[in-house]
């Protein structure tokens, strides 16, 4: 459970950072020169919270197999897209289709970046272990040939 909440907050912070970045980039591209109200500062937090809802739904205590994990990840991603786009449409009914598409793409890019960061973290862990293993094997080999 501790691991789940650690992961949850780590992902939450990353999503929030990703949304802030996406808002900044999209704003610069599509709405250059537009002033944003103070409420906009709460949007990354709000959308990140919404994006975390599927994580709570699709998380299981039991360890799923590879196939099930992939299916769960896909379902989680689709739910996140649906939640974010529906909320955007409800909050601002006048949102144009092009902006919704941009928002959808941003959610996808953020999801990919988060997966990539998680993979990098796991890779750094396995690299450290591989260095230890390789040193151990070298030591064993030397002991055997000396």
């Amino acid at each position: 459970m501790k691991r789940f909440w650690k992961n949850f907050f780590f992902t939450f912070i990353m999503i929030q950072a990703g949304i802030t970045l996406a808002m900044g980039i999209m704003g610069l591209i599509f709405l250059k020169g537009t002033r944003v109200p103070y409420e906009a500062f709460f949007l990354p937090f709000f959308f990140a919270l919404l994006c975390m809802i599927p994580t709570l739904i699709f998380e299981t205590k039991r360890e799923p197999g590879i196939k099930e994990t992939i299916i769960r990840k896909c379902c989680r991603f689709i739910s996140q897209e649906l939640i974010v786009l529906t909320t955007q449409k409800l909050l601002a009914p006048g949102t144009s289709t092009s902006l919704l598409i941009a928002l959808g793409i941003s959610v996808f890019v953020i999801a990919v970046i988060i997966q990539f960061i998680n993979w990098l973290y796991a890779k750094s862990e396995t690299d450290a272990m591989n260095r230890k293993l390789s040193a151990y094997h070298k030591k064993q080999k030397n002991a055997g040939t000396r």
């Binding site: 360890e63 994990t69 890779k123 396995t126």
Partner: protein
Amino acid sequence: MKVSIQKVETIDQEQVILACVEMTQDFWDIKEYALAKGEKFPVYQDKKQLLIRRSDILYIEAVGEYVFAYTSEDVYEIKMRLYEAEQLLTGKLFIRCSKSVLINIENVLSLRPALNGRFLALMKNQEEVMISRKYAKEVKQLIMEDL
């Protein structure tokens, strides 16, 4: 230092004799190495009991009622439960890596990340064994601290 090698018929007769004036650190290292390498483990093949070197075991897997020990060349049956094998081999570089598998860390060539906090261990026979996220922390601790 002179080294003599004498061929014997069976694995039971295998032994290392150290002849020294004084037990120096080098001799202690050789003794420890030989003891760890030579430790035998009882297994069964075609209802015949055999003794194999513990260090030759890549991993031990429970399949239903049966427990098997896998080496690079063969698969042997073990007449004990997985938890009994675990108790017997704990502290000897064997560690539980999933609900049904005990892995011998000294025969792991490398590790790579898999989905959802899991790792895949590449064994000496090029087979990959899954390390579940439940046991990943313990495996990491064993490799980083005890190896």
